[in-house]
């Protein structure tokens, strides 16, 4: 028990991190704040004050590493008086393995729709593992896109994306345009788009780039893809074949060789492509600010104007000039004053002004991991008879939780769930495990005799909210503990832990 309590304070301290990126991003960071403030001023809205250190720490941890900070990190961070501590925190998080894992999970969710099918689940794991590798090496974003368009061998994770879509040209067209271009051309699959520029011919012209991809029979049930010499798409219910056509109308040049997919890839990652980089920038913005400069976040139709047009253009150019460096882009955004604002109410606030920080729902994965971290539960994964331990993110309990909690809306500024999910959150695992004396590592450590109740209350607030308890909480929680007999102390601590674990402040990113 004492060991555990001590372990609570002995998490590895910060490692020194390279900071070469910080200098390059500073001017753009300042420019973003300038443009946002100009807009706020013209709207006559005062921005919210800066968030407290704890609020900022928790936010950055959730956004950049996918879960809440451990108590020891929080204590160090709150005690640190260095003016560079926010920058150092961002750098450390961006360099952490958790950053790559979190981004891989986030992008896997964007790329593949949720599934309960066992085989499809394996595709998802394989794609996610590949993405993790890309983000961990900070692969150029344009290179990642290119690999999706031209994937062939099974070392290329994107073959699993093709497999999940059954290699159907119309689905590959609909999904790659949504994911990488931010264009919803699939509505033109069956008819001309009623509210947009897209015609049925535009859709099938784009789909034609995928008309010749086929699966190659290969050993051991592994997937590999090949581009054949033949294969066309036809307008539905007609015999009319459609030749490849880029969105916007131009046809690929015959001067260059290569397969149809290679020709599409060249166009997609060209520096003057009007969609690819914008889509990535809008994603990164929404990832940190809860909504995009363009909303909905994956609909960058020319008819859908950004809230800050100049900012959108400048950031897009900046991203392209940086060599499509996603990590640099996130660093630049995370260092803005706007990202560091409090989430508290502001007079005259409208979401598109970014006057205060949007309050975001956690993804099911984030929520599950945060609850486990709060309870200091180390999950044993897989059945004990099997030799090789399974990766944590495939634990059955975690998969079931994610399946139950998964949402459909892209708007993360609402808490989109129902009473059955709320019941499971209140009474089921992992909250029940994290707050019960038999299973919660955190509760066991809190029982250590050398802690006073005041210290225990402090630890609970630090673990759940990454901040010191308020005066009100100190009083309310201490009173609650004081009324418990020595025998009931354990349960009373569990009650406090439950009350914070089920609260909005814990379950949301604010």
């Amino acid at each position: 028990m004492v060991r555990l309590a001590i372990a609570l304070f002995l998490f590895p301290t910060a490692i020194a991190v390279a900071e070469e990126g910080a200098d390059r991003s500073a001017p753009m960071t300042a420019r973003i704040d300038q443009l946002l403030l100009e807009r706020l001023k013209s709207a006559g809205v005062e921005p919210a004050p800066a968030a407290d250190d704890g609020e900022f720490l928790r936010r950055a941890y959730l956004d950049l590493s996918g879960t809440i900070p451990p108590v020891a990190i929080t204590r160090d961070y709150l005690a640190d008086s260095s003016p560079a501590k926010r920058r150092q925190l961002i750098e450390r998080l961006l360099a952490s393995p958790a950053f790559a894992s979190h981004l891989a999970s986030t992008w896997r969710e964007i790329i593949l729709k949720p599934t309960d099918d066992f085989q499809q689940l394996q595709n998802q794991f394989a794609l996610q593992a590949w993405l993790r590798e890309q983000f961990s090496e900070n692969a150029r974003y344009d290179r990642i896109v290119e690999q999706f368009i031209t994937a062939s061998s099974e070392q290329d994770g994107p073959v699993y994306f093709y497999d999940a879509l059954d290699l159907k040209p119309e689905q590959l067209a609909a999904e790659t345009s949504r994911i990488f271009l931010g264009l919803h051309i699939q509505c033109a699959e069956c008819h001309d788009h009623p509210f947009d520029d897209w015609k049925q011919r535009d859709f099938w012209g784009y789909a034609a780039f995928f008309a010749r991809v086929a699966k190659r029979d290969s050993a051991m049930g592994r997937i590999s893809l090949v581009d054949q010499e033949m294969g066309e798409v036809k307008i539905p219910e007609s015999e009319e074949t459609v030749a490849p056509l880029y969105p916007g109308g131009s046809a690929p040049s015959d001067r260059f060789g290569g397969t149809r997919r290679q020709k599409l890839a060249v166009w997609m990652v060209a520096r003057d492509n009007p969609y690819t980089a914008r889509r990535a920038v809008n994603w990164a913005w929404a990832h940190l600010f809860g909504r995009g400069l363009v909303e909905p976040v994956d609909d960058l139709s020319p008819l859908n104007a950004p809230s800050h047009p100049a900012l959108m253009e400048e950031l897009t150019q900046y991203f392209i000039d940086s060599g499509y460096d996603l990590r640099q882009l996130l660093r630049t955004l995370a260092m803005t004053d706007a990202y560091a604002r409090s989430s508290q109410n502001v007079d005259g606030q409208r979401p598109e002004l970014f006057a205060n920080m949007a309050i975001k729902s956690l993804s099911p994965e984030q929520l599950y991991d945060a609850i486990l971290r709060l309870g200091l539960i180390r999950e044993t994964v897989g059945d004990l008879s099997s030799q090789a331990p399974q990766p944590f993110d495939r634990s059955q309990q975690r998969l079931q939780f994610v399946a139950r909690m998964r949402t459909v809306s892209l708007d993360r500024t609402d808490f989109e769930t129902g009473a059955p999910q709320a019941l499971a959150l209140m009474n089921g695992p992992p909250v029940s495990l994290a707050t019960a004396p038999e299973t919660s590592g955190f509760l066991k450590s809190l029982e250590a005799p050398f802690f006073s109740d005041e210290q225990r209350v402090e630890l609970i607030a630090l673990a759940a909210y990454s901040r010191q308890p308020t005066a009100e909480e100190r009083q309310r929680f201490s009173e609650y503990l004081a009324t418990a007999s020595p025998n009931e102390k354990k349960q009373a601590l569990g009650d406090l832990l439950w009350a914070v674990a089920a609260s909005a402040e814990f379950m949301l990113n604010h």
């Binding site: 989109e416 129902g418 009473a419 059955p420 309310r476």
Partner: protein
């Protein structure tokens, strides 16, 4: 949706239903009816054998062991193992011409629950989600969509809100774990006990402590929300408070079978299906608009690749008792006329009997049943060939089946929900089958 909203909504739906001349009148009638409409799906996990339930082929080599029996409707015959349902045949419409295209359990379950084949870009909501959204009151203490004994491994589609979101997913009821105090009744009679998943506090938390926890929780909520007037914290607070209302004794009592006399519980059958039908009756009585009860959820009960005849006999006995008692009790309470029942599974089973005295998956020609409110009972709609291999007439595909169910409960199947890509999606693309509607 509140009753008045629904009425306005249905009246608006009339404008969109002009293509089908009699449907507007039907929808109009439903809209003007103050009666609340409800729906129960009886889901036969594994795929029930039509040849041994509602479409027997006595005398044919495919026929198997069972005899046919007369029902209350002259000329309409059922299996000998469904004697109580046979007496209520005037309330049942047998669809003998079902023909579908999925022969895998998971895919078949998805198709039957959504009307769509799996694999497209959209995840469609279960019919329980769309219909409870159309019929239910979002402010009600009880959930609008309850699934009893769902098969989590093979039938996720049956409880999913699909693109409507988790808000519309089913609240699930399962066999109660042994954690709580065992009921004296269970010990005495062997009655299975069912309960809402996660409605109970974790084992070690007493009701007094739960109240103390909620008080602490409310304190946390109030101080956080006071400064943050935003969608996410407000939704979190609303939804959690609603879940707490479900835990309150009055609402939770709806699921508490111990409040029924043992004799009543026994009349439904002691097993999970019978007790599930009793829960369905209790929920329908309390205004819950959609309940699905699964039969054969331990594994895939109706998946009788082997020893079909012993298996189906036992399953039929439970089915006959639970379903017939449910209809009788709904009728006694005046609720059968406003409650439509749909009996179905993933697919039917092969007419030929295999080497293991079993029948395999067979989507080409099989049976579903509609019963109760809004349904023209006492008929077989469609028929199959002599050996049961193919549909001869009344061929019915899933979208039309779902559209018929919608029409029977007074919901226009063309009612549109908006997908995440802002595309309007109809509850069903099919057309109701006039002959099946009363």
């Amino acid at each position: 949706m509140a009753a008045t909203d629904r009425r306005r909504f249905l009246q608006q739906a009339l404008l969109g239903a002009a293509s089908c001349s009699w449907l507007p009148a039907l929808v109009q009638a439903a809209a003007e009816q103050p009666v609340k409409r409800r729906c129960i799906v009886l889901w036969m996990s594994g795929g029930p054998s039509q040849m041994d339930t509602f479409d027997l082929k006595p005398g044919h080599a495919n026929g198997g062991e069972y005899k046919e029996i007369e029902t209350s409707v002259p000329g309409l015959k059922f299996s000998e193992h469904l004697p109580h349902l046979a007496k209520q045949a005037d309330r049942l419409a047998i669809l003998r011409g079902m023909s579908t295209k999925e022969g895998d359990h998971i895919r078949g379950s998805y198709l039957m629950h959504t009307g769509e084949r799996p694999g497209g870009p959209l995840r469609y909501p279960a019919i329980g989600a769309s219909l409870s959204k159309a019929l239910g009151d979002p402010q009600a203490d009880l959930p609008n969509f309850v699934a009893v004994n769902p098969n989590a491994a093979f039938s996720q589609a049956s409880i999913s809100g699909g693109f409507l979101g988790p808000k519309y997913a089913a609240t699930t009821v399962g066999q109660r774990a042994m954690a709580g105090p065992a009921s004296p009744a269970a010990g005495a009679t062997g009655l299975v006990d069912l309960g809402v998943d996660y409605l109970q506090l974790p084992g070690e938390v007493s009701p007094e402590r739960a109240e103390a926890r909620m008080k602490l929780w409310r304190g946390q909520q109030e101080s956080f929300l006071a400064l943050r007037d935003a969608a996410a914290p407000k939704s979190h607070d609303t939804i959690f408070r609603r879940a707490v209302r479900m835990m309150n004794p009055a609402a939770a009592a709806a699921f508490d079978l111990q409040q029924e006399e043992d004799a009543v519980r026994e009349s439904y059958g002691a097993g999970r299906f019978g007790q599930g039908c009793l829960i369905a009756r209790r929920l329908i009585e309390r205004g819950v608009p959609f309940v699905e009860v699964t039969h054969g959820a331990d594994g895939l009960g109706w998946d009788t690749h082997q020893a079909n005849f012993a298996g189906v006999k036992a399953l039929s006995a439970e089915l006959d008792q639970g379903w017939s008692t449910l209809m009788r009790e709904l009728d006694e309470r005046g609720l059968l006329d406003s409650t439509t029942i749909l009996w179905m599974g993933e697919f039917g089973r092969t007419p030929q009997i295999n080497a293991n005295a079993g029948r395999d998956h067979f989507p080409d020609a099989w049976s579903c049943v509609l019963a109760g409110g809004g349904i023209a009972g006492g008929q077989a709609y469609g028929s199959t060939s002599e050996g049961g291999q193919e549909v001869v007439d009344g061929k019915t595909e899933v979208p039309d089946l779902i559209a018929t169910l919608c029409a029977a409960v007074g919901v226009d199947p063309a009612t549109e929900n908006i997908s995440p890509l802002s595309r309007p999606i109809k509850i069903s693309e099919g057309a109701p089958i006039r002959a099946l509607l009363s």
